[in-house]
C-alpha cells in the first residue's frame, strides 16, 4: 500500500524567500495541498513558471519544473502538453507576467483549450521589479512607475477570460487557502484550459489592496447560488469589483480540448514516437 501524499512531500530544500506575510505563501500552500490531494507524485507533474516573485516558487516546489521567460510560461507549457498529452501541466505566473508581457498568449490559450491549469498571482503590482504598475492596478493608484497615479483602466482578468472563450474561469484569494486548494483541484481535473486568478496581497508594494481590504470584500459565489454554466451570469459576476469581489468557480463549460480535436495526437504521445521507422519515400516520389 502506498502512503497518501502530504503537502510536505512537495517541499524542496529551499525555503521561500518571499517577504514575510506575502500572499504568495498562501498560494504555495494551496498548490502543494492540491497536488497531494490529487495524488500527483512530483515526477508526474510539470509546473511551468513565469518570471516574478510568483515564478520564484519554482525553487520551493518539488516537481519537474520549467522556469521560463517573463510572460512566456503559457506557450512553453502548451508545447510540453502537446508533446506529452499524458503529462499534468500547471502554470504559475504573475499578473504582469501573464496579463501584461504575455497577454497575447493568455487570450489564445483560452481559445485553444489545451488541457493545462493556469494559476495567476494577481497582486495588482509588479513585485519582483519593485512596485511598478501592473495591468490589474486600480485606476488612479500611485505606483513607482506612475507616481501620480495610473491612468490606464485596470484589466479584469476573469471577465477577459470568459470573453476570450475560457472553459474554466475561477477566482481565488490567497487569504483562503481551503477554498483555493479546492479550486486548484477542480481546475486540474477540468478537461481543458483552466484559469485560476488569485487575489494576492503584496505586503511590500501594494498598500491599497491588502489582506484586510480583501477580507471585507470577498464572497464565495456558491453562497449566492451562482450558476457557473450560464455565461451571461458568469460575466456579470466576473465584472464585480469594489465593494463585493466574487471568489470561486465563475464559469465552466465542457468542450473538446485541443488534443481532442487534433487527430495527429491520437495514440502514442509525440515525445515517445519512434523515429527509426519513418519512411518518406512516398512523399519524395510526389516531387518527381
Amino acid at each position: 500500500m502506498t502512503t497518501p501524499l502530504k503537502n510536505t512531500d512537495f517541499n524542496t530544500t529551499h525555503f521561500p524567500t518571499w517577504c514575510p506575510g506575502c500572499g504568495d505563501f498562501g498560494i504555495w500552500t494551496a498548490l502543494k495541498n492540491a497536488l497531494a490531494a490529487l495524488e500527483m507524485k512530483p515526477s508526474n507533474v510539470l509546473i511551468v513558471y513565469g518570471i516574478g516573485c510568483s515564478g520564484n516558487m519554482s525553487s520551493f516546489i518539488k516537481s519537474y519544473g520549467f522556469h521560463g521567460l517573463h510572460g512566456r510560461a503559457l506557450p512553453a507549457a502548451i508545447g510540453a502538453k502537446l508533446a506529452n498529452k499524458n503529462l499534468k501541466v500547471i502554470v504559475v505566473g504573475g499578473d504582469g507576467d501573464g496579463y501584461g508581457e504575455g497577454g497575447n498568449h493568455f487570450i489564445h490559450a483560452l481559445r485553444g483549450n489545451v488541457d493545462i491549469t493556469y494559476i495567476v498571482h494577481d497582486n495588482q503590482v509588479y513585485g519582483l521589479t519593485k512596485g511598478q504598475m501592473a495591468p490589474t492596478t486600480e485606476l488612479g493608484q500611485p505606483t513607482s512607475s506612475t507616481p501620480e497615479g495610473t491612468v490606464d483602466q485596470a484589466l479584469n482578468p476573469v471577465a477577459l477570460a470568459i470573453a476570450a472563450g475560457g472553459s474554466f474561469v475561477s477566482q481565488g484569494f490567497a487569504g483562503d487557502v481551503g477554498q483555493l486548494t479546492q479550486l486548484i483541484v477542480d481546475a486540474v481535473k477540468h478537461p481543458g484550459f483552466s484559469h485560476v486568478n488569485v487575489l494576492q496581497p503584496c505586503v511590500t508594494f501594494n498598500h491599497h489592496n491588502t489582506f484586510s481590504w480583501f477580507f471585507k470584500r470577498v464572497y464565495k459565489v456558491e453562497s449566492v447560488q451562482h450558476d457557473f454554466s450560464n455565461k451571461y451570469e458568469a460575466f456579470a459576476r466576473a465584472l464585480e469589483w469594489g465593494d463585493k469581489i466574487p471568489t470561486g468557480l465563475l464559469y465552466r463549460e465542457i468542450r473538446p480540448t485541443w488534443v481532442d480535436r487534433v487527430h495527429e495526437l491520437d495514440g502514442e504521445p509525440l515525445a515517445t514516437r519512434r523515429i527509426d521507422t519513418i519512411d518518406i519515400s512516398k512523399t519524395l516520389q510526389s516531387f518527381t
Binding site: 512553453a76 508545447g79 509525440l270 515525445a271 523515429i275 518518406i280
Partner: protein, 583 residues
C-alpha cells in the same frame, strides 16, 4: 538559325492571382521527367492581386543551378509582361499571348523585329473545353510544348499524378485543355521554332524548393512538433508540414505569434519531442529571447530563419543574406550555438535532418539559415538520400540510471558538457529547468564558482558536437584554380552556375562554400585561403558580412568583393563579368 535541343528559358508573366506559379511548376516537372535539368525562380511583389508576377523556368541538358537573363519563350498574360521582358528575348524567341486580351504593337516590342509572335486564344480555348478562364495557363503550357516539339503523353502522365486524387474528370479536363493549346499552335504556327525538347532516359529526379526540402528533412529527422507564425518566405515550411501532418502524425502548429512559436517548440522539446520552429528575420527577432532560453535550459531547439531583405518589413518577397551576423550573435549573453546555411535543396534536406539530431544529442540551439531564393526557388534534384544522417535518439538518461534518487542533477558537470536529461513524467528524474543561472538541480545559484562551471560546461558541448558535423566547408570545382569564389548559402547556387560559364570562357575558378557558419571552420578556411590564388567574396548583402566574419576568425581578407543587395539573387552573368574583368 541552328536548332538548339534541350536548352531554353521559359518565362510567364502576369498579374498576381493569375495562377502562373503552378504552370511553371508543371513545366519544370515535365522537363525533369524528360531527363533534363531545370531551375525555376519567381518574382512577385507583396500583393495577392495585381502587381507584376513572373516565373522563369530555365532548362538544360546538364545540371543547372541558377538561371541567366536570356529568354526564349515568353508567355505574356498582360501588356506589362511584354514591355518589361522584351529586351531579354533571344533572336527568334517567341511570345505566346492571347489576341483576344492583348494587342502587341511595334512600340511594345521596342522595335524588335526578330521575335516570333504566337497568338493563342488562351481564355477562349480554356472555356471551349469546359474549363475556367484561369486555365488559360494550361492552354499556354500546351502551346509551349507544341512550340518545343515536345511529346504530349509525358504531360498527360503529370496531370494524372498531380490531379489523380481529385478524380478522373479533373485529370481529363486538364489534359484536354492542354491539348487544345498544343493543337492550336501545331495548326496555326507550323513555322520552325529553333528550340526543342528531346526526352532522354534517366534515373528519377525531383523538382523541389528549399522550404519543401527542409520540411522533408525535418520529417526524415524525426520531427514531431513544428510551430510557426506565417512570414514570407518561411511560410511554406509550415503549410507543407501542416498538409503532411496527417500522413506522418505530427503537429504543425500555427502559433499566435513568433514568441509563442519558439516557446511552444522549446516546451515540446523539453517534454521529449523533436521540435523546430521557423520564420523570417522579423519573426526571428521576436524569437531571440527564446533562443537564449533554450541555451541556458539546455533544451534542444531548431530554428529556421529564411531571410528576406530588411530592416523591418523590408522587401517581403525578395531575397538577401543580411542576417548572418545577426543570427550568429542574437540574444543576450554568450552561449554556443550551431548555424548552418544550406546552399541547395539537397543540403537543406540533409542538414535539416541533422539539425534535429545535433540539437537533441548536444542540447544546443541550431539555426538553419536560408533565404527567399533557396526557400522558394525550385531545382531539378536527384532523389534525396534518406540515409544521409542515420537517425538515433540521444542525450537522454534512461529511468533506471537514476532510480531511487530524489532529485536528478540535470545540470551536473560532465566531461562532454552534455548531461543526459530525463523527460518530465519520468520517475526519479525530478529537476528544474531554469532561465536563471542554476546549480546542478536547476536551483538559482549566483555564486561565481557555479557560474564559471556552468558557462564552461555549456561551451564544451560545441566541442563535443564537432566530430559529428559534416565537413563545414565545401570546395566546388578544381583545387588550384585561378580564382576562388568565397560564399555561403544560396549564393553558392549562383556561383556554381557561374563556374559552368567560366569554364566555357576559359577561366579556371572554384568555390569555397562555408556550410557551417558556427562553429566557424577556422582551420579549413585558413587552409583554403593559403592555397587560393585570388579570392572573391560573393554574397547578397551590402556590407560583406561573411567577409568580416572570415577576417575575424582567420585574419584573412578576400582580395575582391562582389556584393549585391537589390533584392535579386546574383545572375551568373554578374559573377562571370566581374571575374573576367579582373583578368
Amino acid at each position: 538559325m541552328k536548332p538548339t535541343v534541350n536548352k531554353f528559358t521559359w518565362k510567364i508573366g502576369g498579374a498576381a492571382g493569375n495562377g502562373i506559379m503552378v504552370t511553371g511548376a508543371m513545366l519544370a516537372k515535365y522537363v525533369t521527367r524528360a531527363g533534363l535539368w531545370s531551375v525555376d525562380y519567381s518574382e512577385y511583389p507583396s500583393l495577392i492581386r495585381g502587381g507584376h508576377n513572373v516565373q522563369v523556368v530555365q532548362v538544360d541538358d546538364e545540371q543547372i543551378f541558377s538561371h541567366d537573363q536570356g529568354n526564349e519563350i515568353l508567355v505574356a498574360l498582360n501588356e506589362d509582361t511584354v514591355r518589361k521582358h522584351v529586351a531579354e528575348m533571344s533572336s527568334q524567341g517567341a511570345i505566346i499571348f492571347d489576341p483576344d486580351r492583348l494587342t502587341i504593337n511595334d512600340a511594345m516590342l521596342g522595335g524588335r523585329k526578330d521575335i516570333q509572335l504566337v497568338p493563342v486564344p488562351l481564355v477562349k480555348l480554356a472555356l471551349q473545353e469546359g474549363g475556367k478562364d484561369l486555365m488559360q495557363n494550361t492552354v499556354a503550357l500546351g502551346a509551349t510544348l507544341a512550340l518545343l516539339d515536345a511529346p504530349m503523353d509525358l504531360m498527360d502522365e503529370i496531370f494524372k499524378d498531380t490531379f489523380g486524387e481529385k478524380g478522373d474528370a479533373v485529370v481529363q479536363l486538364n489534359q484536354k485543355i492542354c491539348k487544345a493549346g498544343y493543337a492550336h499552335v501545331r495548326e496555326q504556327h507550323p513555322a520552325k521554332f529553333p528550340w526543342s525538347i528531346m526526352p532522354k532516359p534517366q534515373e528519377p529526379r525531383m523538382v523541389i524548393d528549399g522550404n519543401s526540402a527542409i520540411a522533408l528533412g525535418f520529417l526524415q529527422g524525426g520531427l514531431t512538433f513544428y510551430s510557426a507564425y506565417p512570414m514570407t518566405p518561411a511560410s511554406s515550411i509550415l503549410t507543407t508540414l501542416a498538409e503532411l501532418a496527417p500522413k506522418y502524425n505530427i503537429v504543425a502548429k500555427h502559433a499566435e505569434d513568433e514568441i509563442a512559436a519558439v516557446n511552444n517548440a522549446i516546451g515540446a522539446s523539453f517534454a521529449g519531442s523533436r521540435a523546430a520552429c521557423g520564420t523570417s528575420g522579423g519573426g526571428f527577432s521576436l524569437m531571440v529571447e527564446g533562443l537564449g532560453l533554450a541555451a541556458i535550459t539546455e533544451t534542444p531547439l531548431v530554428i529556421v530563419n529564411a531571410q528576406r531583405p530588411g530592416p523591418a518589413t523590408g522587401l517581403p518577397t525578395w531575397t538577401e543574406q543580411g542576417d548572418l551576423r545577426f543570427v550568429m550573435h542574437a540574444s543576450q549573453g554568450d552561449f554556443p550555438r550551431i548555424v548552418v546555411a544550406p546552399g541547395d535543396p539537397t543540403q537543406a534536406f540533409t542538414e535539416s535532418a541533422r539539425a534535429l539530431q545535433l540539437a537533441e544529442h548536444y542540447h544546443l540551439p541550431v539555426i538553419i539559415l536560408t533565404d527567399k531564393y533557396l526557400a522558394e526557388g525550385h531545382w531539378s534534384t536527384p532523389l534525396f538520400d534518406r540515409g544521409a544522417v542515420p537517425m538515433q535518439r540521444g542525450g537522454f538518461v534512461a529511468p533506471h540510471e537514476h532510480q531511487g534518487k530524489d532529485w536528478y542533477g540535470r545540470y551536473a558537470d560532465t566531461p562532454s558538457g552534455v548531461t543526459p536529461r530525463p523527460v518530465p513524467g519520468q520517475a526519479g528524474g525530478v529537476f528544474l529547468a531554469n532561465s536563471d543561472e542554476h546549480d546542478q538541480y536547476g536551483f538559482a545559484d549566483e555564486t561565481a564558482v557555479n557560474r564559471l562551471m556552468q558557462v564552461a560546461k555549456r561551451n564544451r558541448k560545441l566541442e563535443s558536437a564537432l566530430p559529428h558535423l559534416p565537413p563545414r566547408t565545401i570546395l566546388w570545382g578544381e583545387p588550384g584554380a585561378d580564382v576562388t569564389l568565397v560564399t555561403w548559402g544560396s549564393t553558392t547556387i549562383s556561383c556554381r552556375e557561374a563556374l559552368r560559364k567560366l569554364r566555357t570562357a576559359g577561366v579556371t575558378a572554384n568555390i569555397l562554400q562555408i556550410l557551417y557558419i558556427l562553429p566557424f571552420p577556422t582551420e579549413e578556411v585558413t587552409k583554403a585561403f593559403a592555397s587560393a590564388k585570388r579570392t572573391i567574396l560573393v554574397e547578397t548583402n551590402s556590407s560583406g558580412q561573411l567577409g568580416s566574419v572570415i577576417a575575424g576568425y582567420t585574419g584573412k581578407r578576400c582580395d575582391h568583393q562582389l556584393l549585391k543587395f537589390d533584392g535579386r539573387p546574383f545572375w551568373p552573368e554578374d559573377i562571370v563579368s566581374f571575374v573576367t574583368s579582373l583578368h
